[in-house]
């Protein structure tokens, strides 16, 4: 009996040393594999020593058993340092999947606080964290999801002053932002630092996804594809244009996939051609995959422009010579009217209470008008005034919309935020639709009407 136990003990000891040898062998192999790993992305510091705890083997097992990941891929994830710029509709799902996958260092930068209108899409924030900085809220969620990664909070906007310094700490950046100016900034800094960018965007029911500067100095950058920014007036945010939660969520999830693919790239895998994915939720073919070209030789960010002084460099960003907001045409509020042509919501309330006959013209689109409207208002959407600019006679086109309206009453124009209504007020006056020039813009629009509480409870959306 004693001998058989001793024999079993010996056998077990042998098995343990065999396994230990195998494990040592495997980690040597891992180091070797990661040392020769493909240069792109070059900043992924292969020398960073990492090990997985037993808990992590179990946690990541379901993805580790995929040949695309394996133990080498898992180690690469743990060594990687990923920066997510923007903790909104794209950044939330991207951060959750990357934290869950075991990225070693996850930095998140955002200067905003959580609002309740974010929650239909920004799924890692919560009702109880409304008012909390988004970065803090995000990390609260992520720590609970996976305590292993090193989470780095950056509660500030990304600017020309801090971008070079912040991005120096990362190997990969996810562009989850909401304005062209910051997209160009991220691009230029990433190109200078040889960091690939996983870029996505979404508006209404559509999305775009593209991996840029990958591998650095081979793949195209944002400026190769879109050298000129969109005209400022065409830049619509989710607050104005609307966004379907799962559409932006899908784009963020796809960013996480691309990030994992870049980080875990096996040295023997070919670097694929850059593609752009367009998603249209209501399209007959919702996904379109576009073949892109490599970087443009004359690109001012990643190429050699004909006029070398145009080349964007570390110095041109640091010296503040790059004015990204001006490049994108700014985004100042519309101010086309004089003080006397505008009245406040309180003044308009007095007009209503006094019982003076007037016309309230609401220029929001039909969908928004359907959500809530002020009593007795006439809805003629702003887009109709826009189209009238292309008619033979703008004035006649506008006049025809008010044929059956009495012309001797004052007119008050309202929209959602008080920008479109100013433009329409100007158009109505120029077209001379209402004699006597008694056309007034209501400052701050429906949003201000609701916020001020001037007429009691009114929905704010």
């Amino acid at each position: 009996m004693g001998t058989s136990l001793e024999a079993e003990n010996e056998a077990l000891k042998r098995r343990i040393s065999e396994l230990e040898a195998e494990l040592a062998n495997r980690s040597n192999h891992t180091e070797a594999a990661s040392q020769q790993s493909h240069p792109p992305p070059p900043n992924i510091a292969n020398e960073r020593e990492v090990t997985l705890s037993l808990e992590e083997y179990k946690r990541y097992g379901r993805q580790m058993i995929l040949p695309e990941i394996g133990i080498e891929g898992q180690m690469s994830l743990k060594r990687s340092r990923v920066l997510i710029v923007g903790a909104g509709g794209l950044g939330c799902p991207a951060a959750a999947y990357l934290a869950g996958a075991g990225v070693g260092t996850l930095g998140i930068i955002d200067h905003d606080t959580v609002e309740n209108s974010n929650l239909h899409r920004q799924i890692i924030h919560s009702t109880s964290r409304v008012g909390v900085p988004k970065v803090v809220s995000a990390i609260t969620y992520l720590r609970d999801l996976n305590p292993h990664p090193n989470y780095v909070p950056h509660v500030e906007p990304l600017t020309t002053e801090n971008a070079l310094q912040i991005m120096a700490g990362y190997d990969l950046v996810l562009d989850c932002t909401d304005h062209p100016a910051i997209r160009y900034l991220i691009n230029d800094v990433a190109v200078i630092m040889n960091i690939p960018i996983v870029s996505a965007s979404a508006l209404r029911t559509d999305g775009q996804l593209v991996v840029l500067n990958n591998p650095p100095s081979v793949g195209p950058c944002y400026r190769c594809i879109w050298p000129r920014p969109p005209p400022a007036e065409s830049v619509v945010g989710c607050g104005e244009g609307g966004i379907l939660g799962p559409v932006v969520g899908l784009m963020g999830v796809m960013q996480a996939i691309e990030a994992i693919k870049i980080i875990t790239k096996n040295p023997v895998q070919e670097v694929g051609r850059t593609t752009m994915t367009l998603f249209a939720a209501y399209g007959a073919s919702p996904f379109r995959c576009l073949k892109m070209r490599g970087r443009k030789a004359g690109c001012i960010a990643c190429g050699s422009p004909e006029r070398m002084e145009e080349k964007i460099t570390r110095e041109s960003i640091e010296d503040g010579r790059m004015d990204y907001v001006a490049f994108c045409g700014g985004r100042a509020g519309v101010r086309v009217l004089e003080g006397g042509e505008r009245i406040s919501v309180t003044e308009y309330k007095k007009v209503v209470d006094s019982g003076v006959e007037h016309l309230l013209l609401d220029v929001r689109d039909k969908t928004q008008f359907g959500i809530c409207q002020l009593e007795g208002s006439l809805n003629v959407p702003y887009s109709e005034f826009e189209s009238s600019k292309y008619e033979d006679s703008e004035a006649e086109a506008i006049k025809s919309k008010f044929e059956d309206q009495p012309k001797d009453r004052p007119v008050y124009v309202i929209c959602r935020l008080g920008n479109d209504s100013q433009i329409v007020t100007r158009q109505l006056k120029q077209a001379g639709v209402f004699p006597g020039d008694r056309v007034f813009d209501i400052k701050g629009g429906i949003a201000e009407w609701a916020r001020s509480g001037v007429a009691g409870e009114f929905p704010e959306y």
Partner: protein, 93 residues
């Protein structure tokens, strides 16, 4: 988007995305083929006043799902049955 319409003979299909679609008020249409790529923006600008200035200047263009360079691919001809995409940068998220 009714993308299932077959392309009528002698035309190519053009798809408008994001604010290109807001400007033209349609997501796709058919234009007469053949057409030189270099004539495309001019043709669209005539059809949709100020489109070059307000939309096309900032757009990427694809032909049959491949990126084309409006400067270096000028010689290219858009043929019957081709699919052209006008793709503005979308920046929100």
């Amino acid at each position: 988007m009714a993308e299932n319409n077959p392309t009528p003979t002698g035309t190519f299909k053009i798809l408008y995305f994001a604010y290109a679609s807001s400007h033209t008020k349609k997501s796709e249409e058919f234009l007469p083929a053949p057409m030189q790529l270099s004539e495309l923006f001019g043709t669209l600008d005539k059809k949709y006043p100020r489109m070059k200035d307000k939309v096309l200047g900032s757009c990427m263009v694809t032909v049959n799902l491949e990126y084309v360079d409006m400067n270096t691919d000028e010689e290219m001809e858009l043929k019957a049955g081709d699919e052209v995409g006008i793709i503005p940068p979308v920046s929100s998220g």
